[in-house]
């Protein structure tokens, strides 16, 4: 069997993604650095998480590290996990350096690594708030301290930076951190038998194991995953002394399930509590399960994934139904207007999907990964790369965000930065690493699961070129070259939205093979120089409805074309969006009735949809019309049409209403 690299060298050529990835290097990373290094001011909205708002959350992120390194003086500012924003930036920078040689970026990243090495304590500990102001509280307030979370993000960044640049310095800092954690945590007597309130170290340690081969790191990740929830009182026990006196560290407003510690992780069956924490926890578990074969961890991750994607996920991929605790609520509770849908949670879902694909090729993983990539995750960043969403609603109205406090966390325009600014760099690291989300390799099969044009080298003489204009066009071409001298198979994904409706040719001949778990595998024999594949996907517009179990979407539809979910915005539609009604013809024959058109000069180049509709006339200014309730049947309609744009591109024009779910016409 040919020895295919599980981490091929992928050059993304997709126009859609190259635009985003160039933006990351040219705008996003310089902007984010400037804000975190206090070189540029950014205005902050109110913290969207009502349960998580503290005085002085405007942190000077780089400055904290300089203080810890002894290069500046003063107190720590911002959240306890503020360092991690810079680590996610470093991780994004690492991925960006893979596709763009940028001397300035590289020099900045190197200086940061150098600074971090100076700031790191002799025992490897590095969390600046504790080093600067709260040394006595180290590892003593794990419910809120985010110490392992923060160091976990550095470890992830260092692994990426090492992989791309070969920086031993970056990796050494990470190993010293991991060693520090290993020295303090574990099942052995004298070590702390507990976990961090925010999972992340569980993601970081298996990555560090993969590049170092140090088994202690994998064992430590396994310990954290199995330890979680075995002692639900652990956090409380840490507070037997009455607390630290620091409001951020002592806060205890959420139940145990918020931290996924109410029961052992391997016994959890539904996604409960803080959405990002659940998703990160599952990502770590899936990764460790793949490396160790731990069936319990794998099953737990798969079980929670299933619960999320079948019962708790928005059509655009977002998760988290309430701002209170940024949390899941219960099955099928998916309000569109009071929801949370944190950008970080969508990024996390993409990462989790990838880890699960690395275990098993199930189409559902790839479908959800695609959903995040083209909708929920990238909606968190403006097209100019300098404004971000923390909360991604499916329905918004600036009037209600301003005047109904139940919706005040829903911004109708992206913000320059946040007090708790976890999302901006998280989006950046996903976009910058999207080349890692296109293929997986298993048992001599290359699975091509994302339609992102690229040139990939799998080593040993095996290369793949994918050409397309996705997501706007469903025609995909592959050239698979095999100069390895060995057979292998190349499996093409048939996405859920095109299943049963596609055409696949290999060297101009129809491929007869059925899709198995959403993939059609084509043999690429030794000796054949290349196989040319042509795939045509069903790009007809689809009117989607939610499961009857979803209360808030009853009587509503959302339009999709390919993986892209569309929305209506005030910028294109003059009436109140809820006054439009989509007639049955447009719902049941959307492929014919809805017009799709690519507009090069709109929103960076997007497909728009034109949906025939009626508009219910608002009451006139006549007092007699100004009645709140009246017998049905008196409403007057006029013909109109709805113009829809991709959801990810919303809120890049004037402030106004937006809706993904549109009202159907009544019988």
């Amino acid at each position: 069997m040919v020895n295919l690299s599980t981490m091929p060298d992928v050059n993304v050529t997709s126009t859609f993604w190259r635009n985003y990835r160039n933006l990351i290097v040219d705008k996003v990373l310089p902007y984010q650095w400037a804000v975190m290094a206090d070189e540029q001011e950014a205005s902050l909205p109110d913290d969207p998480s009502s349960g998580n708002s503290f005085e002085g959350s405007e942190g000077h992120t780089l400055r904290n590290i300089e203080i810890a390194a002894g290069l500046a003086e003063g107190h720590h500012t911002g959240y306890q996990f503020q360092d991690s924003d810079l680590y996610k930036w470093l991780e994004a920078a690492a991925y960006a350096l893979k596709y763009r040689h940028d001397e300035t970026l590289k020099a900045t990243a190197d200086r940061l690594v150098e600074l971090l090495a100076k700031a790191q304590a002799p025992d490897g500990y590095l969390v600046t708030m504790f080093q600067i102001d709260w040394p006595q509280e180290r590892f003593k307030r794990l419910r809120q301290s985010h110490e392992l979370y923060t160091m976990g993000h550095y470890i992830e960044a260092a692994v990426a930076y090492y992989e791309v640049t070969g920086s031993r310095a970056a990796l050494d800092v990470a190993c010293r951190m991991a060693d520090c954690i290993d020295a303090n945590f574990g099942s052995e007597p004298g070590k702390i038998h507990g976990v961090d309130g925010h999972p992340e170290i569980e993601i970081a340690l298996p990555r560090l194991y993969e590049v170092t081969g140090e088994h202690r790191y994998l064992d430590l990740a396994t310990f954290f995953l199995h330890e979680r929830g075995t002692n639900p009182a652990f956090f409380d026990e840490q507070f037997a002394d009455g607390g630290s006196g620091n409001e951020m560290l002592d806060a205890d407003v959420f139940p145990r399930k918020y931290y996924q510690i109410d029961k052992p992780f391997t016994e959890q069956t539904t996604a409960e509590g803080h959405a990002v924490r659940v998703v990160y926890l599952c990502e770590g578990a899936a990764h460790v399960a793949r490396l160790t074969g731990d069936a319990e961890l794998r099953e737990a991750a798969e079980r929670l994934w299933s619960n999320i994607v079948r019962k708790r996920m928005y059509i655009t991929g977002q998760v988290g139904s309430t701002h209170e605790g940024e949390a899941f609520t219960c099955d099928y509770d998916l309000p569109n207007d009071t929801m949370y849908g944190e950008s970080c949670a969508s990024v996390g879902m993409a990462m989790l999907a990838r880890r699960l694909l690395e275990i098993e090729q199930r189409s559902e993983y790839a479908d959800v990964l695609e959903k995040q990539l083209f909708n929920g995750a990238i909606s968190g960043m403006s097209l100019d790369g300098s404004h971000f969403y923390y909360v991604n609603p499916l329905e918004a109205d600036p009037v209600l965000s301003a005047l109904n406090p139940d919706k005040k966390h829903v911004l109708t325009h992206r913000a320059e930065w946040f007090g708790c600014s976890c999302c901006p760099a998280n989006i950046a690291r996903l976009v910058a690493s999207v080349d890692r989300y296109i293929y997986t390799v298993h048992d001599g099969v290359i699975y091509s699961h994302q339609f992102i044009a690229n040139q990939a080298d799998f080593g040993g003489g095996v290369t793949v070129e994918q050409r397309n204009n996705f997501p706007w066009d469903g025609h995909i071409e592959y050239t698979v070259c095999n100069r390895s001298g060995q057979d292998f198979r190349f499996a093409v994904r048939i996405p859920e939205w095109s299943r049963g409706r596609y055409a696949l040719l290999a060297d101009s001949k129809p491929v007869g093979a059925e899709a198995v778990e959403g993939f059609v595998a084509i043999p690429v024999k030794a000796g054949c120089a290349e196989v040319r594949l042509s795939l045509d996907l069903d790009m007809s517009v689809k009117a989607m409805e939610a499961s009857p179990e979803v209360r808030v979407d009853a009587g509503k539809i959302a339009f999709m074309r390919g993986p892209v979910v569309f929305c209506a915005e005030a910028a294109d539609n003059p009436d109140n969006l809820w006054q439009y009604r989509v007639p049955a013809t447009a719902v049941l024959d959307s492929a014919e009735q809805v017009d799709a058109r690519f507009e090069q000069n709109l929103l960076g180049g997007v497909e728009t949809l034109t949906v025939p509709a009626h508009v219910i006339q608002a009451a006139g200014s006549d007092d007699a019309d100004d009645v709140l309730y009246r017998p049905a049947g008196q409403q007057v309609c006029r013909d109109a049409s709805l113009t829809l744009v991709p959801y990810y591109a919303w809120a890049n024009r004037q402030d106004g209403q937006m809706a993904v779910w549109l009202n159907r016409e009544n019988a």
Copy 2:
């Protein structure tokens, strides 16, 4: 012109209301007293108002007064306005004694008055929290102190108790209170130029003026109404010293409009902030305007009324669209599931409607009054008289109330009591005084605006008997007797839901007169012993729709029959309520298609509606069906019917889903 009493002696004979009024005497008042006197334990839910929750809000209401009277020792417990709960109880007791001679009740009330006289300070001040624990803060923290609010409630109670029982003792305490307030507040130098954060004294003082003739009280009410908002910084200025150190008194989490002090009351154009405060403020203004002819106050009250009933009121009469601040939000923002709809606000709307009717006979006032009486106000009390709602939602689900924190203020079963228990006795005083809401008298015309069977004596030989089985039957009979020797007119209201569709006979002959502002006036000549009227109202079932401006009710209908709004409950309907679809036939021909039937043994005797419907089948247990989103057109329906019960009677059976607004079928 005959000298008709504007406050006739009315004996309510209506079966519907006699049941409620007997419950008040037999169950509600004894129960409420027992709880407030610590003779009975009651369990408290979490405080529904998130912005208003303090430690130790379980107050010992009577005990506080005993402590202030020197008959017990200890600290004050509960909210700063806790005394007022007992005052509303006293007011309800007064009204109850009018229709039921109950020695025990009378004795308890007399003892309470005696106790209050003892507790009252020599200068007339009486607010126990300040007397017991915070004497130095008297009138210094009016943003939150509720001192005038609390004394206002006593004054209202004393006026009622004096009117019914002739108790001078009760009235004297009230006059001393009013004198104390008058000595401390006013435009004169040295007095406090400010108002209470919670309007109520504005209601109380004109009532006290009416029974005492003391013009100072009316002038003081006028002062408060015109003072309000002239100095928006007044509350802040009181805190120039840094505050009292009492969390309840120092709380400052809401903007100025929450207290209606952001601008002069007479310049306010929309109902903003805390709903009960707005409504109480308008009630006081309307009352003072009628007594003084103050056009500015009248116009302000009418303007805010209009804004509320045309743009900010639920179909069941509730007001208050958010729990945060128990407040209005903006025009047409009427969410059914995250709303507030405080019982006190509906009671206040009924009281305001009556005050406006006393100024001018406009059908809208009587229509909304009826809406409150048969829906929003009485929904606050269980049919057993010992459980109460603070929040009255139009859509509820116990699962979401338990698991989605954005709905945790929505109880799906009434509570025994509340930490802030303003509502229970407020409902009691409205029901006990409903005899005062049936007629108004203007310029020689008796306006009969509520269909509540009764016998009324207007003095001077004029009596009216009204017979009906309303709200279940639309046949109304009147016998109007005129032995006064003078002509007068008797005006019958044609409610908005029957306008243009009614039959009115006077002495068996059709009345030709047109309704003017919703009233048809019949001359009752001197010398005619009696006129017999027969009115038949349109009791056909109506499917109602909301204004197109109301986003959340798009595609939905609610059913009414007469003034009664209906709802679906899980107790009668086995499927998830949102999975029912009401077909066009039932919407457009509800009079024929919807079956109405009186069920004597259900919920104390109620009309039920049976609506033909379809149910969207939920996904099967098969994994393949378990998909959140799919192309439209695959839903499977089955025939079903919806059983509806009156909204006011909901949540008197098992806990379960409830919805007023039902989904229409899609085209």
